[in-house]
């Protein structure tokens, strides 16, 4: 955390209100995001308890597993979830625009441009918290290796038809969420924490209710007081006013309300199973429905406040204008989405349990370059982010006080104008250090020449001035202009190309062997399995 954001936190403590950490929005927000608020059963590895899901804040779809230990009920839940999520995802797969991608021609080995489809827009899933993102990954992992009866008639516990496909999509979203700056799967807490500083620690900021209490505070109550109530406030029955944003539930809710309700449901099911005639069966079926309705009511009571909080977060973020380069990062998300769509259409197997060495290295490299790209883009888009880099000596804002034309000493002299600039910032410059500014969205390079005695700096511009002897109009700054220069590159250069899978070096296990077990094998199932 930079000193500037620390200062923002301290100001938030003093004022009792969250303080801005950004002047623009740094993440893409879809016009039609899908919000998913999942709940899980305590102590079970990914046995869902319920979820609210949908694209309309006023009309969430409630999905509930009345008895989380029952495999059929869990499968019914996942099938319902697939019916909500997959049509949403599918609505983006067919609307495409033409785009170009460079590929290596297999025969000549040269780079050629290929015309391909790019989905014009992509789905966006928003969950309440980081734990929610992990849960989406977990759900994806638990579903993508399942077999349906159609795929394998012998499978002992066939999954409903669309469940494995949902698993593949959730896995893709979960994987993409690890790429810095990506927006296919976002969490409300991360979104809010990126744009506001509260007067509490970053650990406490993981609590969506408390976080919103700081940011969305109105009235005389301070953010700290409102946050405390969100964290700890309980009604006379000992239930939290603000239930946890999930996927874990509050133990007091589990023990006092949910467990008795599930027990009633179990008893009603047993009673129904042992009913002897039609009349008593009808009556007992009625009791079962009552018990089920009660569980649905309880789960909804835990989910609804979080659902509303997520949509409120989206609303708050929409009030901020999008950063200029946000659309560029969203385009990468669209590529990622399109790529996965194509893999599914091509009938490729689900994502493996573990990446092979080359894929893992590629993913890491991609995330690293996305991280540095994100840092650069955010600084260029937002003066408040740039302020942090200026404080760190990685950027400076300077006024041009003099422009002297000069040329390079080659056969065909190119313009190499010298700028004298004045700044109060303290950039870490050494002779020949390259600095960059944004010129019509593209970086222009200059190098540091010397410091003058009066403290002004001399820079020499080295590119983007056209091919002729005189620089192209507008390509050289004019006297009096205030310009932000960065010491970091705007577009991180891509590292050395990684080998193909088939050429994995022996140090990394060598090329994948064809005789290793089929990576698609479903998980072993036991009768008491929990997912």
């Amino acid at each position: 955390m930079s000193l500037i954001s620390t200062l923002a936190r301290l100001e938030a403590v003093e004022s009792g209100r969250a303080q801005p950490l950004a002047t623009v929005r740094h993440r893409h927000l879809s016009d039609r995001p899908l919000v998913l608020v999942p709940l899980t059963t305590a102590g079970e590895a990914g046995a869902p308890l319920g979820a609210l899901v949908g694209t309309d804040p006023g009309e969430p779809r409630l999905l509930v597993v009345a008895q989380p230990r029952d495999r059929d009920l869990r499968f019914a839940f996942l099938a319902d979830l697939a019916e909500e999520v997959l049509p949403y995802v599918d609505s983006f797969t067919d609307v495409v625009e033409a785009a170009e991608r460079s590929e290596t021609d297999p025969e000549t080995g040269k780079k050629v441009k290929v015309e391909v489809d790019l989905c014009a827009d992509a789905p966006q899933v928003i969950v309440p918290s980081r734990a929610g993102i992990e849960y989406v990954r977990l759900l994806g992992r638990s579903m993508r290796f399942r077999r349906t009866a159609e795929q394998d008639p012998e499978t002992p516990f066939p999954a409903p038809p669309r469940v494995p496909l949902l698993g593949r999509w959730l896995t893709h979203f979960g994987e993409r969420a690890r790429v810095p700056g990506s927006s296919l799967l976002l969490s409300a807490t991360d979104l809010l924490n990126r744009h506001w500083a509260t007067g509490q620690s970053s650990l406490e900021d993981q609590h969506l209710g408390a976080l919103l209490a700081w940011i969305d505070a109105d009235g005389p109550e301070s953010g700290a007081e409102a946050a405390l109530r969100a964290e700890l406030g309980r009604d006379p029955q000992g239930q939290l006013f603000c239930p946890p944003a999930g996927p874990a539930t509050d133990p007091a809710f589990d023990n006092r309300l949910l467990a008795p309700a599930i027990e009633r449901f179990d008893r009603a099911r047993q009673a129904l199973a042992s009913a002897e005639d039609g009349e008593s069966a009808d009556e007992r079926l009625g009791e079962l429905h009552v018990a089920e309705r009660e569980i649905r009511r309880l789960i909804l009571s835990q989910l609804r406040p979080t659902w509303d909080a997520v949509w409120r977060s989206v609303e708050l973020l929409r009030e901020l204008p999008a950063g200029e380069r946000v659309a560029d990062r969203w385009t990468r998300d669209r590529w990622s989405f399109t790529g996965h769509r194509d893999r599914i259409v091509a009938g490729e197997p689900p994502q493996p349990r573990r990446d092979d060495a080359v894929t893992a290295a590629q993913k890491l490299a991609a995330r690293e370059s996305a991280q540095s790209q994100l840092e650069a883009q955010e600084a260029l888009d937002d003066p408040l982010v740039l302020a942090g880099r200026r404080l760190a000596g990685e950027a400076f804002v300077a006024e041009v006080v003099e422009v002297t034309m000069a040329w390079s000493e080659s056969k065909r002299p190119s313009p190499r104008p010298l700028l004298t600039v004045r700044t109060d910032d303290r950039p870490h410059l050494g002779e020949g250090t390259k600095v960059y500014r944004s010129l019509e969205g593209k970086p222009q390079t200059a190098e540091f020449v010397r410091s003058e005695e009066d403290g002004s700096l001399v820079l020499r511009i080295t590119d983007r001035m056209g091919r002729s002897k005189e620089p192209a109009p507008g390509s050289v700054p004019e006297k009096g202009e205030r310009i932000a220069w960065t010491l970091f590159e705007h577009d991180q250069r891509v590292g050395a190309k990684l080998p193909e899978r088939e050429e994995t070096p022996w140090t990394h296990g060598g090329p994948p062997r064809s005789d290793t077990p089929d990576p698609e094998l479903p998980d072993a199932v036991t009768p008491e399995d929990l997912l």
């Binding site: 100001e11 102590g43 406490e204 036991t526």
Partner: protein
């Protein structure tokens, strides 16, 4: 009646070694949960009965078949006879003695043995703490291995790192307690790696992984050695301070708690029952630690929110102090950026 220390509490001490309040209260065996409730900031720790039931069912499954399942997880397919000694006895002291006896007998017998919920004791700051590992396996060669059974899953061979870390810290305390017994037993040696047993993927089939706890062991050992200096903390207290949760009024207790300095940091919230009380105090005093330990590190000699903001605004502070100077530049840059919105 002092509240006995358990392994979790001992392990948590390592998380915030500088906190005198916690060291003293834990060393004296004060029931911090009751204390926190009486002070009006009850702890929010609790366990769902679903998790509890699932944990018990899983543990029973792991220990089924006379310990053979567990030995299979240790990689022993054909253990021959496996002794599962009876460890029941009256009172904790009786159980501790019974455990020590069973360990000695099993080591002398030179066969595999599984001790189900043995009870160990460890002297902490002059009072005995009773520790109950899930199981201890005795190898024919006299090695003892601590087994920790957890119900969080190991998916594709990997479990949640923070949970594994917590389990390792807890197991290290057991290893430490076992070493005291091993020192008195001929031919015995305690393994410095423990067996962590978890459900595999999404099933309830157990799978296991050997976790090296040498690092946690040395940290815990150092912490426990430090704890013996509680007398010094106590000696610095005013006369007549008592933490009698039953007998004292909330105000008396509050004064007593205040007489011991705390070292609140946000990490305490997940480890200490008194955290909400200490947080309130830290916030009330405007301590910058309440925002995180890293924040404290950035601000040099400035320790309160008021001091930092006054320095940043140029109202107070020495302009030659590098921290103050950096703060003023930060404040100016932030104001400039916000002004151009």
């Amino acid at each position: 009646m002092p509240h006995p220390l358990d392994a979790r509490a001992l392990a948590a001490l390592a998380a915030n070694p500088g906190c005198r309040r916690r060291a003293l209260l834990d060393g004296a065996g004060v029931d911090k949960t009751a204390l926190a409730s009486k002070l009006g900031s009850p702890a929010a720790f609790g366990q769902s009965q679903f998790a509890f039931m699932r944990g018990n069912a899983f543990e029973a499954k792991v220990k089924a078949d006379g310990g053979r399942e567990l030995l299979r997880l240790l990689g022993i397919a054909e253990p021959g006879t496996v002794r599962v000694p009876e460890l029941a006895a009256a009172g904790p002291e009786g159980r501790v003695a019974r455990t020590a006896l069973a360990l000695r007998e099993a080591t002398e017998a030179g066969t595999w043995a599984l001790l189900d919920h043995p009870l160990l004791s460890l002297e902490v700051a002059g009072s005995p703490a009773h520790l109950e590992p899930d199981a201890v396996v005795v190898h024919p060669d006299g090695r003892w291995t601590v087994v920790e059974i957890k119900s969080f899953p190991m998916i594709d061979g990997a479990a949640d790192a923070s949970k594994v870390g917590a389990a390792a810290r807890q197991s290290a305390v057991y290893v430490l307690a076992l070493e005291r017994v091993a020192a008195l037993t001929r031919g015995a040696e305690v393994a410095h790696s423990v067996l962590l047993v978890c459900p595999k993927d999404f099933s309830n089939l157990p799978t296991a992984s050997v976790v090296d706890v040498r690092k946690q062991l040395s940290v815990t050992r150092r912490q426990l050695a430090r704890l013996t200096r509680i007398e010094e903390i106590a000696a610095a207290l005013p006369d007549g301070v008592t933490f009698d949760v039953e007998g004292c009024s909330a105000r008396e207790l509050e004064a007593a708690v205040e007489s011991v300095p705390h070292a609140y940091a946000p990490e305490c919230l997940s480890a200490c029952e008194l955290a909400f009380h200490c947080r309130e105090r830290a916030r009330g005093a405007g301590a910058v630690e309440a925002l995180g330990r890293s924040v404290r590190g950035e601000l040099g000699g400035l320790t309160t929110v008021g001091d930092v903001l006054a320095a940043a605004r140029g109202e107070e502070g020495d302009a030659d102090d590098p921290t103050v100077e950096a703060l003023r530049r930060a404040a100016a840059l932030r104001a400039e950026a916000l002004a151009c919105r």
